[in-house]
Symmetry: C2
Subunit: 553 residues, 2 copies
């Protein structure tokens, strides 16, 4: 801490959103006398950017709620000088100054710093079809973006919307527009929404979207807009299909805003973000960078990665603020990319790495899928969730998890993310002492059930096969009830309901490689254990059961 001397430390923060405001406020708490200035190109020091879709949909009724803090409060409470409308265009690292344009006065400015904190965030990618601009074809990234969309929604009496991009924000926008009563089409280039989820989990969302009347266009590219003056009347897909629309909202990914840092000669990493150390220092020790513009260390991978999420942005801002002010701070923790989205009645969440990524990178992994109720099944209101646990075969270290369902998905993903922070294994996950009472959980929590399944798999008692496993050439025993089989048939399987297996397993050939199948994988595990113990040399169970297999398309 500096003393209240005559030469206070000069801390300049570029950008209020995405960690900058956090950095400035923390710097003040650590150094009461530093001169702290925030230069923000927009009109607000900070706003709730994660809340924008919910104002568009009306769920957050008042726009003012999104303005979580003000320049006035920053001055009164923290003596932080927030200058909005200030675009920084250059950093002079030798002279330790930043310069740019004060757009409110149309004048250039220059400001000296001892420590500079960059928080320029990221910006949405603008696909080619968006040029030239149409006024009803918009990103949803800033308050002005949102305001423009709100104007379109009310002025044009919009009835139809096209959302481009099935990422987190895209899905939130789809939900909100549908809740407003619009007819919504979602256009996604990839073959699934939410890339952090593995395909079969994404498929659950696909079905839910379709159930809720959303027109889902996967593996679909927009080649052009159907233009009508300065408006778009539709979008044309690569296959020739035209989707008529009153509004297009584009969420086609983001890229880090690193122009300023890059022009100043700061090191940029392989993934395109600014390289920082554990205290958020760039390659220039006097300059920090935080939030969406930097590379974090990925906890599962141990590599530098861009992870444009609000949580890490805030935490990295706090660390940079403290370190810039005091020259020391706690280090930034590894980031797992833990994220969550509500899609109508569904919650989808994930942490760490998924199988698609691990396979692409050639990293050995195994996985299980379980289905469980979010609280005691005998207590009213239990909602079902599916959890997928991905882990290293060598030692059971958790590599990632995905959850999808109703209530309580967020809790389980946070618990697993916490275990992953500590490098936890599925064995440790099985031992967690979690809170249980009937309204909140089960004596065996879904997290435990997933861990038990993973341990069984690892210890080959018995191991699992994935939902899309090719069953041809196997003796398949379907231990579901007749009613279940009728609703969801599985051709080529021998049907022996689980509660008849102890009497009837003699109908099966113990010398054939065998797969046990049920609805979720739980009874199939019991069956596989029984068969293995009765001389079946090769028996495994289908993880996730028919409830997951039936989603494969």
């Amino acid at each position: 801490m500096s003393s209240p001397a005559s030469n206070p430390l000069q801390i300049v923060v570029v950008g209020g959103v995405a960690g900058g405001a956090s950095a400035a406020a923390r710097a003040r708490r650590v150094d009461a006398t530093a001169k702290i200035t925030v230069l923000e190109q927009g009109s607000y020091v900070s706003f709730a950017n994660c809340g924008l879709p919910y104002h568009v949909g009306g769920e957050i009724a008042e726009r003012s709620r999104l303005l979580v803090t003000t320049a006035e409060l920053f001055w009164n409470r923290f003596r932080i000088d927030v200058r909005t409308g200030h675009s920084v265009t250059a950093i002079d690292r030798d002279r330790k100054t930043v310069s740019g344009i004060d757009r409110s006065r149309g004048e250039p400015f220059e400001l000296a710093y001892d420590r500079l904190i960059l928080s320029t965030g990221s910006e949405p990618i603008t696909p080619e079809f968006m040029r030239p601009e149409c006024r009803n074809v918009r990103h949803l990234w800033t308050l002005p973006d949102m305001d423009a969309i709100m104007t379109e929604l009310s002025a044009a009496e919009a009835r139809r919307a096209v959302v481009v991009g099935g990422g987190f924000v895209g899905l939130e926008v789809v939900e909100q527009l549908a809740n407003r009563g619009l007819s919504v089409a979602l256009v996604e280039r990839g073959d699934q929404v939410l890339k952090p989820l593995d395909r079969h989990f994404a498929e659950i969302i696909h079905r839910h979207l379709r159930d809720r009347g959303v027109a889902l266009h996967l593996s679909a590219d927009i080649v052009s807009l159907v233009r009508d003056g300065d408006r778009a009347a539709g979008v044309e897909l690569a296959d020739g299909q035209v989707l008529d629309t009153d509004l297009v909202i584009v969420g086609a990914g983001v890229r880090p805003r690193t122009g300023l840092a890059s022009e100043a000669g700061l090191a940029i990493g392989k993934t395109g973000g600014v390289v920082v150390d554990e205290f958020q220092r760039t390659s220039d020790e006097s300059i920090y960078a935080v939030g969406d513009m930097v590379e974090y260390t990925h906890g599962g991978l141990g590599e530098a990665m861009r992870i444009p999420l609000a949580g890490p942005a805030n935490r990295s801002g706090r660390i940079a603020g403290a370190h810039a002010a005091a020259g020391s701070s706690e280090p930034m923790g590894a980031v797992l990319g833990t994220s969550i989205v509500r899609v109508f009645e569904l919650t989808a969440a994930c942490t760490g790495l998924n199988e698609a990524f691990l396979s692409y990178r050639g990293i050995e992994h195994r996985s299980v899928i379980i289905e469980a109720a979010h609280h005691a099944g005998y207590f009213p209101g239990a909602e079902s969730m599916r959890l997928k646990l991905v882990y290293a075969p060598a030692d059971g270290r958790i590599l990632g998890a995905q959850g999808i369902g109703g209530e309580g998905v967020d809790k389980r993903i946070d618990v697993i993310a916490t275990a992953m922070h500590f490098g936890g294994t599925v064995y440790q996950l099985a031992q967690l002492d979690l809170a249980y009472a009937p309204p909140y959980g089960s004596a065996k929590d879904p997290v435990h059930m997933a861990a038990f399944a993973a341990i069984n798999d690892l210890d080959s008692r018995p191991s699992v096969v994935p939902p899309d496993f090719e069953l041809d050439g196997y003796q398949v025993v379907d231990v579901r009830t007749a009613g279940e089989r009728e609703r969801l048939p599985l051709d080529g399987a021998v049907s022996i309901p689980i509660d008849e297996l102890a009497d009837r397993w003699g109908e099966l050939d113990p010398d054939l490689p065998t797969i046990a199948v049920c609805h979720s994988g739980k009874r199939a595990h019991v069956a596989a254990c029984w068969l293995r113990g009765h001389g079946f040399a090769d028996v495994r169970n289908l993880t996730g059961g028919m409830s997951m297999r039936s989603l494969e398309s």
Copy 2:
């Protein structure tokens, strides 16, 4: 795994509830050919004992939902021979047999075992005033208990109830009876409900109970019943007060049922539970014990403790079952006593050790209390919670946590319990990468906020004083608004609202030891930072703020 040979392993489980059923089912999955027998003195192999209060209150409408499994299913699915009505009265360790009475036939039985698993659970303590029995004065421990209470509730048109004991089950019963429309009095010997919570958190429940019309009698002993034939018409307290009532439900604690184990010469620990190793083996290697009757290793303390909770009972059952069948298994994890209860609109949960216990044991600790919303404050429906974090001053290791509030308390306690499983510190807690979207959390989660406060405290930037700190002799600066001060006055404080402090701190004397106070401690932290940075040598802030201090009574 044993081969399907002619001499299958004989596994006998005594007691189906509290881990026994889990043990038997796991043993079967591990060894398909063992002869497995469950001897249960009651009429059901297992039932949802945690659900009993909710059937009494009508929230679980159908009694049948509590019968989570049946002897028939155990036989059909697992070939486990469940013998209900079988009371085991002796173990012959030399001959490896158990013997007792088959109460359905009124005949003695004897059964040989290779491995014996004891799951005799615990039993409710019967206070003196319950003798001789009255038919409307009951424990709520078994299905017959519950049935008797249901009979009383309907037959007698009960309007008033006295619940004895303010533990977890006691509070659930209070809530359920009140929800049924009964006028409920709660009589608790101690000076607070829920001993695992520290006093000020318990006080939040006290107020909530009173707000909901529950007559709360703390530090109150029942000396006798006002008897009317075989019924009680009231209870008489030690202070002479008589509470008229139609029904008395007694939850005055439980004790382990160790008679059988103890008579067999198995080692009993200091806390009265059976001593077991990490695989749940007793001092006799052929005999396992699980659930409420044993001592677990407490994760926070590293000592053997009794922790009669359903989660550990189930997990210990699984481990004993596997080890008894296979001779090996994963070890039992340490237990933290993580627990949770719903009390009307409140959720209270805790994990690890509280301050009262740590102080009693002379273990150094510090703590902070924060108030935070369960999801983004700008998103509709945010509910407030208070979190208390208790940690070691030497290294910041988390010793315990308590949470109380609305939605999302369960998630935060589970996350902290998970961090504690790994011996985590408050520094690590601050780094967790948790899932954030407006409907589910905040970019800075309540868990982070608690960790940040703890780190500030540990690093003296600045440190905190507890809610009940004696403020006499301190310069107290109250940084709340005028409106807040009016609603909850703090005598003797200098009033400087936080947003005026930067202008007005000169009104304060920097040489006096100073305490900053606000509503929750958050603004007081900002104030304390400011003052410390402006030459105040000794400044701290009141953790939890006036919202906690006002609860001290």
